[in-house]
Amino acid sequence: MTASPSPVLPNAVRFEQVWTRFGDKLIHQNISFCLQQGQILGLVGASGCGKTTLLREIIGLQTPSQGNIFVMGKALPKQAGHLDLQTSRLSGVLFQKGALFSALNVFENIAFPLRELGIADKGFIQHLVIMKLQRVGLTTSDAGLMPAALSGGMVKRVALARALILEPSLLLLDEPTSGLDPIASEAFVSLLSELYGELNFTVVMVTHDLDILRDLCTEVAVLADHQLIVKAALPTVLACPHPFIGQFFHNRRANRVFCN
């Protein structure tokens, strides 16, 4: 049997005519797109334009008012928070502020999904957690620390280790580099790209970081005026004539990033 991973894979994420409203407020207007597996999608847009809502819809924390969302070929349920475990285990989520359980130490935080899966083998958990911990660049001596004692960069790393512990095929990141200094941010990006090369997952991330868009993302989706303006590789996006893209990608700061 020649195993070639290939065209049979379902889309990692598929939106079909998704509309979202909060009361009278329109958030998403008819959003449709497909994301192939193995891509890194960067979601950009102005603050408050519904990027995080889109991400929350993929996680299953919120449901659209209209339309369907498929994750790894499975339709998400119509009620928020009713995600079955099987689906939720396909994806790992890195929340903006880490969302570590403050009552558990680093080790227990990372081991939590494993224990919830019903794994009781202590040696197994220990091996796996220590491996992930080292993988995200932390040492075993950090394992006993409480989340309150961690720096911002460490919180992100621990949260990433927790998101990766079940080997998800889809990784969802909400502003992965916000609140990090440039060095930590750079280190985090190179860590992500290293892991990406090795673990072969799909990534959807919300970000404002132009460097990430340039260095890491294989595709960029731009949200503005409640709509998905464009979803394509970065050069195509840069060439798009929409006024928001002009503001976002062709200002002085962005030109510094993209023109070098």
């Binding site: 991973p5 379902p10 359980f101 403050s102 899966l117 220590i130 080997e167």
Partner: protein, 377 residues
């Protein structure tokens, strides 16, 4: 669509086949993902069984996908060493080799807990509580002295908000509880008094017990549960969201802006609430007396001032003010002890309520002993 999905998540499988030379060979196939492997306990049992039977030939070439966690499961089934004959894709071999290379650090030595240590710790913790309570009180005293000389700095707005939250909004619940307790107390006493033909003494019993003891105590316990816990949680959340630090950075003292208004407001509002509870409880008692003993409300109201000396009202009022002070002080004390994690928030809020109710009852006992001869007819 469905066959695509199943191909993507091909079920992990393990078969043992007998080779031409009579040896058994374990053949693994499918996609070995952690979740899939864990979801099929049979598979792990089979894996374990093969390893225990010392199967030396393993064929992993048909495995379409292997993640590092599933690799660890296989590696541990092998007992941490390569079987004699393994056929495996190079990328999967790499995963297993990584586990081969991993060395676990020694676990840190567990600290030995002995009973003396536990006792010493709890003495230390009590001393710590007393010390920080003392500091808080000292700070408050300084604040009060400052405010006396600078009356413009008195935080009226905060005080009034707390009076509204802890006082006005508690009127309903205190009235309800007071009324019901009055009814029950009156009914139970009436049963006893009837036996002696001393029905008229119901007014003495209700008047003395409610005005001197039950009213203030009931109100204080309700406020401790209602507002004390809220104050502790509020200060705790302010710690978590760094609002406390923001106040400090602006040069605003916590004791002045957060503690003092709470204490001032509760000391003011508790006597009023306890009088309110008294009224409700006496009303309940009156209704019950009317029904069970046929003592009219008018008679009750006329007789009450005769049998309950006025001193009792003042004792109740004074006690209540002290209760309010103690509840607010303890609530703030425990609030500042909250560390920025969820567990600590729960623990300290519980501690706050338990400590303030205990303190209220202890203070009540002290008052009872000190004022043994006062206000008794």
């Amino acid at each position: 669509m469905t066959d695509k999905a199943t191909d993507f998540q091909a079920i992990p499988q393990l078969e043992t086949v007998q080779q031409a030379d009579g040896q058994f060979c374990a053949v693994l196939s499918g996609s070995w993902h952690l979740c899939a492997v864990v979801a099929t306990p049979k598979l792990r049992a089979l894996l374990q069984q093969c390893a225990e039977n010392a199967v030396t030939h393993w064929d992993l070439r048909s495995v379409t996908a292997l993640d590092s966690a599933a690799a660890l499961i296989i590696w541990r089934a092998w007992g941490g060493q390569w079987p004699a004959y393994v056929q495996i894709k190079p990328e999967h071999r790499q995963l297993l080799q990584r586990w081969q290379a991993q060395v676990l650090p020694n676990p840190p030595p567990k600290s030995n807990l002995w009973i003396g240590q536990g006792i010493a710790d709890s003495i230390g913790s009590v001393a710590g509580h007393l010390r920080s309570l003392l500091i808080l009180q000292g700070q408050l005293l300084l604040d009060v002295a400052y405010l006396l000389s600078h009356p413009k700095a008195i935080p009226w707005a905060e005080i009034s908000i707390i009076i509204y939250d802890a006082g006005v909004r508690a009127l309903g619940i205190t009235a309800l509880v007071g009324f019901l307790i009055g009814v029950v107390l009156s009914y139970l006493s009436a049963l006893q008094l009837k036996m002696f033909g001393a029905e008229i003494y119901i007014i003495n019993i209700l008047g003395m017990s409610i005005i001197r003891e039950l009213g203030p105590l009931l109100a204080a316990i309700l406020v401790a549960g209602r507002s004390g816990s809220a104050m502790t949680a509020q200060i705790g959340i302010m710690r978590v969201t760094e609002e406390l630090d923001a106040l400090s950075a602006m040069g605003i003292a916590h004791s002045m802006r957060l503690v003092l208004p709470k204490i001032a407001a509760l000391s003011l509002v508790m006597p009023l609430l306890s009088e309110w509870t008294n009224v409700a409880a006496l009303l309940g008692g009156m209704v019950s007396a009317l029904v069970t003993l046929d003592i009219s409300m008018g008679q009750f109201v006329m007789k009450l001032p005769e049998v309950v000396p006025l001193a009792n009202v003042f004792i109740g009022l004074g006690k209540s003010a002290v209760f309010g002070l103690a509840i607010a002080l303890l609530a703030c004390h425990f609030g500042f002890r909250i560390k920025p994690n969820t567990e600590s928030l729960g623990i300290e809020t519980t501690n706050s309520v338990v400590a303030s109710i205990t303190a209220v009852i202890m203070i009540d006992a002290v008052f009872a002993i000190l004022l043994m001869k006062v206000g008794v007819p």
